[in-house]
């Protein structure tokens, strides 16, 4: 697993969580897909924004 991309892991996790909450909170496939995709995209997007902001923070130590 050493060569696996951190970004791909983030995408995979977001996909699973988005699909789960989409299915849990919506009754129809269409609505579940829309909500799931939105959650997954937001997770990836917000994570990238946080990562970008943290890039400028000192490492400390």
């Amino acid at each position: 697993m050493a060569g696996v991309s951190h970004f791909l892991i983030l995408c995979w996790f977001s996909l699973l969580v988005g699909a789960f909450f989409g299915t849990l909170t919506r009754a129809t496939f269409r609505e579940a897909f829309k909500v799931g995709a939105l959650i997954a995209l937001l997770m990836v997007g917000v994570s990238l924004i946080i990562a970008y902001v943290m890039f400028f923070l000192p490492l400390g130590g």
Binding site: M1, V4, I9, W12, L16, A19, F20, L24
Partner: protein, 149 residues
């Protein structure tokens, strides 16, 4: 399936949801959702195991490990697989130093897995699978009492 279930049936549905991810929804007649939940929880859990994710042991010196252990145990029998894979035995409590052999063995297994680059990610996946199953049990309860259609 919006009608209220009896107490016994509801308890059985919740128990099935704990034993088998999606089992409660299957019992309540929501077959498609049940299969989707089963696939999602299994994929999340086994992704975590493949990434060398940890299954937590309750450690009195670290109280937060009780919460993490609870999230793991929420997976039902899947948690047993995780413990067997990670610790090579079924164990829930972190051994005290008064049992040096078991303590050393658990520490050795922990150190071996922590070296994996994906260990923290894997642990997150395993915990997420357990938290998903807690939500499924609560969802089955809500459906059972008629709060959710």
């Amino acid at each position: 399936m919006s009608e209220t279930k009896g107490g016994g049936k509801m308890a059985l549905a919740c128990l099935l949801a704990w034993v088998f991810p999606g089992g409660g929804h299957w019992f309540l007649g929501r077959r498609v959702k049940s299969v989707v939940f089963l696939v999602l929880v299994l994929m999340t859990f086994f992704t975590g195991l493949v990434m060398q994710g940890r299954v937590y042991l309750a450690n009195p010196e670290q109280p937060l490990t009780y919460l993490a252990t609870f999230a793991n145990v929420a997976l039902g029998p899947l948690d047993l697989i995780g413990r067997r894979v990670f610790y090579e035995r079924i164990i829930y409590i972190f051994p005290s130093e008064s049992d040096p052999n078991l303590y050393q063995e658990i520490m050795r297994l922990n150190r071996a897995k922590i070296l994996a680059v994906t260990h923290e990610y894997g642990t997150t996946f395993v915990l997420a699978a357990g938290l998903m199953n807690i939500l499924l049990i609560l969802d089955v309860f809500d459906i059972g009492i008629g709060r959710k259609r």
